[in-house]
Symmetry: C2
Subunit: 412 residues, 2 copies
Amino acid sequence: MLNERKPIAVTEAIQRVCDHTVTGETEYVALSESYQRVLAKDILADHDVPAFDRSPYDGYALRAQDTPQANENNPSVLEIVGHIGAGSIYPNRLEEQQAVRIMTGAQVPTNADAVVMLEDTEMFEEKGKRFVSVRKSLNRHDNISFRGEDIKKGKVLVEKGTVINPGITALLATFGYADVPVTKKPVIGVIATGSELLEVDQPLEPGKIRNSNAYMIMAQIKRAGAIPKYFGQLTDDLPESLEKMTEVIKEVDFLITTGGVSVGDFDLLPEIYQEMQANVLFNKIAMRPGSVTTVATLKDQILFGLSGNPSACYVGFELFTKPIIDSYLGKKAIGNQKKHAKLAVVISKDNPFDRFMRGTYSIEHGELSVRPAGKDKSNMVHSLAAANCLIQLPGGSNGYVKGSQVIIHILE
Amino acid sequence: MLNERKPIAVTEAIQRVCDHTVTGETEYVALSESYQRVLAKDILADHDVPAFDRSPYDGYALRAQDTPQANENNPSVLEIVGHIGAGSIYPNRLEEQQAVRIMTGAQVPTNADAVVMLEDTEMFEEKGKRFVSVRKSLNRHDNISFRGEDIKKGKVLVEKGTVINPGITALLATFGYADVPVTKKPVIGVIATGSELLEVDQPLEPGKIRNSNAYMIMAQIKRAGAIPKYFGQLTDDLPESLEKMTEVIKEVDFLITTGGVSVGDFDLLPEIYQEMQANVLFNKIAMRPGSVTTVATLKDQILFGLSGNPSACYVGFELFTKPIIDSYLGKKAIGNQKKHAKLAVVISKDNPFDRFMRGTYSIEHGELSVRPAGKDKSNMVHSLAAANCLIQLPGGSNGYVKGSQVIIHILE
């Protein structure tokens, strides 16, 4: 087995995976369930916003020409002929020297052309009529939010592929999207392999460890916006495992196995892939950790054979599975965001291969800096907990001095 | 009404709210449902990790003293007396010149003290026995991951108050947390007020707008890690509204109303608060937008009266409600993260009051920079969609030059 595996470059491996993208179907979900989903269609304004000329303040709608030279000592006096609460309208035209009391957000009457704020006025009654003294001269268009000022009808408000945030939710509500077109989330199957694995609720036994990878990967799947589905563990029996894989693949969009793809004696996965007639894209990558990651296709589906080593499994998911999920969801940005960051510590060890080190980035004094997330021996689950990025260290270096620029892949 | 409202400083307002924190109870959820929940207890290691001395490689476990001066031309030859697959153990002691084939992750036999990697060996058979040529001299402890090397039993692995990420999930699985202690999410009621409001599925009418705030706030509640519950709209009728508020408050931990707290004629909320015997902490803040935000307490509960204006509503939630949710969840960090950022554009307008402007930050060349998220007139829903932060602009300035340092509150 050892000699059959030809390592390829990590960029080449990512490319081979990304050549096999599938896009998910559109489904409609209730607006209140759409947070963090990915828009499957452009959102268009079906009306102007505001939909009418509206008052941004409490005050009086009036005709500016009726307040010439009005000031503190020489107010213009207008008759109050109506009252427009929010959501109601004044059905008549304003005549000379007339004003209408208006609430914030209410529609300005047809031929009113300005609004005076409440604090620049005084109301009084005389002979059963109500009047307002306006202590300020208004210009046409003062204090009016004009129809279409915020958004013009027909405008693309948000492009498809965008993740819905609270602000987009407000837009969707404004334009009547009681149901929102979003891309279906892919269902990603997870199967653990490895005869050393106990389930999480089993007591420890000599030589055995609890299965942490499957649960970690399921959390990574959720973080990526997809739906994990756990199918337990494969046994050491080839026909039984083959049958299970063949059944599982029908229930999912993509399938991840963890473990069992090391070069050890007991690795059944290559045989299983062969029996399933899966097309192996690669089974070894010139990188650390995760060199024995395997990715294969089966018609439209992709099988990810991630390492049983927790760090390698974690990195393999972020580099290879995450972009496939992004593509499936139709996201505009594929794969984790990459940024330049300054190394806050020295990394002294030689680095013959491309390496992806778990890192913790922070922003201090406006600058992005990063440090390894604890010890990085590949079996150290502990440092995964503190990781919010991967530090990409190109192969062939002899280490990095403090302050070097590195590229990080942002996870959180 | 106008004169009764005394504005207080925004820091004072935040302080008054944060003096009324309540912490949620602990509940247990299945590990696979725990992603992004907040840990309610410290997570302790109940065993060493690794739990036994283990091999980080495929190879042979041996006694280092049996490979003196071994090299390419002068290999040490050891008899292969066993095979340890992952999860199995070798029950005997190693005798002189013996080796055991060992898989990655398997337990090293009792008195083996080093592991030679498979690629530094060759296997052969002779007279029905199997041997390995070791082409490298080993030192004691070479290639062994020692018991407790990653984590010592009893260590606090993750402190309570931490949000569960995929790496923490791996730790929880490793230590057998099939069920995870997390803080209950608070249920936050949302009620809209305003006779201008149509529901999202209603057609537009003159003078009316669709209710966008309630849906926006529900998305903000989810972003903050709590559970929104929408109770529709209040009518203009005081007894009816009072009854509804009194019923709703029994079903939630905190209650948000949007709208109706402007200084307009039709504002019933102050009366409702009074009838409910709520203790008003403040009802006006020296800030923009959101100056008419009201917060009141009712025993252990908090009532947030946010403005009907979308921007003011958005900002009011992030400044006052978000910290209360964080406290309830027992998070270590309360309120949105604040960072220094460089203004990418000039902000020319005078700024008499503390202002919280919707912003879009980005990290370019390792530096955090920020710009306003589109036009910032307070009625502009559109710019909310692009906002991933609030730019905090202290009152009393005459604008800001490009390149100025500002503080931003990170939302996404």
